[in-house]
């Protein structure tokens, strides 16, 4: 499964493939989420804007505890999807990862 970290403006966003076991773990996490009754948070223009990946219905966007699919907005109050994907970011993005971890800790 292709994952994109939406964070850059000038450079291309980092993208990487999840192997099958990790893709399955992500699907499992995703399947546990319930529909959200609240309006989701909009990402800022510049900075961390969430993760993109795909499910059976198309592209999925996870940002600050909300997971938007082609059909619904799901609540992820513990940021499980974002934290899982953050843990999978390539090693060369360690500094960026640390910064986003802090941002998620503050946002929670």
């Amino acid at each position: 499964m292709l994952v994109e970290l939406d964070v850059f403006s000038g450079r291309q966003n980092p993208r990487w493939e999840l192997d099958e076991p990790r893709s399955e773990e992500l699907r499992q996490l995703h399947s546990r989420l319930k529909a959200s009754g609240q309006a989701h948070t909009e990402p800022p223009a510049l900075g961390y804007r969430g993760f993109w990946y795909s499910d059976a219905d198309g592209r999925v966007h996870a940002y600050h505890g909300y997971v938007r699919t082609g059909r619904a907005v799901l609540a992820d109050p513990s940021f499980t999807i974002e934290r899982y994907l953050l843990a999978q970011t390539p090693v060369e993005l360690a500094a960026l990862r640390k910064r986003i971890e802090s941002e998620l800790a503050e946002a929670k």
């Binding site: 939406d6 850059f8 403006s9 000038g10 450079r11 223009a45 510049l46 804007r49």
Partner: protein, 306 residues
């Protein structure tokens, strides 16, 4: 079915929803038909920043019609003959704005229908109706290119450059938006390659600092501000470079109207900063982690990017 759009934003999509209920549609159109002089032609009233009008469109070609009700019209428009009656209908419509619309529209991703938004719209429309702005007459446009104006640089008055009409619609479509970044937008050149400073001239950098990105961009032909470009370089842009140290770079372009436009990565082009405030100064606007303001540059017609 009716499509309702609150014409009020500049950068982000307007609040928009669909009324699918047939009885509700009928009731609404009957109220509009009864209030003579309530409707106006869309876009005929106030066209400045802020709330402008409520747009109503019958979206099927077989909708039951009411006498005197056109298939598309505006309410609460300064062009309405009876603004009071028109405004009252518009306010009722906004009160009933669905907070979780069953009909999901792409606009809802950026402009979700929330109670907070509804209250803000109601407040603005009420204020608008109490003190309606005078509709602006369109300024006479120069015959050469109505979308572009030559201005004198206020920092170095011997230099001139061109500012263009803010036109996010050009960039914010599926065939363009994902493939063009801030450098494309600021240079005003859709390459569809997510252009990188210096890449067209073998001078790209991976070091994200003011000096390195400046050198790369100047290899593409950008000049530091106040190095005046001749008329032969028309159209000439004014761009601003900022850096998230060690991480990324970002560019802005000066637009007609005194503000700055930008396009963060593959997201939509806009003219507001991270606080959703119109950008009038790229040095002081909210730029998130892009803390280093580097410099201003001119980009003439000979600047090639890729």
């Amino acid at each position: 079915m009716l499509r309702i759009e609150i014409e009020m934003f500049s950068g982000r999509p307007n609040p928009v929803w669909i009324i699918t209920d047939e009885a509700e549609t009928k009731r609404f159109l009957a109220a509009v038909a009864e209030a003579e002089g309530a409707t106006a032609k869309q876009g005929a009233g106030f066209t400045g920043l802020g709330f402008r009008e409520v747009r109503v469109d019958l979206i099927g070609d077989d909708e039951p019609r009411q006498k005197r009700v056109p298939k598309q019209f505006a309410l609460a428009s300064t062009a309405s003959k009876d603004l009071k009656a028109s405004g009252a209908i518009a306010l009722r419509l906004i009160q009933a704005m669905p907070l979780r619309s069953q009909v999901q529209l792409v606009e809802h991703a950026i402009t979700p229908l929330t109670a907070e938004l509804r209250d803000r719209i109601l407040e603005r429309v009420t204020r608008f109706l109490a003190e309606p702005p005078r509709p602006r007459r369109p300024k006479p446009t120069p015959p050469s290119n109505p979308l572009r104006t030559t201005i004198q640089d206020e920092k170095c008055t011997q230099c001139q450059y061109e500012v263009s009409q803010y036109n996010p619609g050009f960039w914010n479509v599926a065939t363009v938006q994902p493939y063009n970044n801030c450098y494309n937008y600021a240079r005003n050149w859709r390459t569809n390659t997510f252009a990188q400073p210096g890449r067209a001239h073998g001078a790209q950098t991976s070091i994200m600092a003011c000096g390195t990105v400046t050198t790369a961009a100047m290899a593409d032909g950008l000049k530091k501000r106040c190095t005046c470009l001749p008329q032969s370089e028309y159209p000439r842009r004014l761009m601003a470079l900022v850096i998230d140290p060690g991480t990324d770079y970002h560019w802005y372009r000066h637009q007609r109207g005194g503000f700055w436009g930008h396009k963060p990565g593959s997201t939509a082009a806009r003219n507001v900063d991270n606080s959703n405030v119109l950008i009038v100064n790229p040095e002081t606007c909210n730029r998130g982690g892009y803390t280093d303001f580097c410099d201003y540059f001119y980009a003439g017609r000979s600047v090639v990017i890729n």
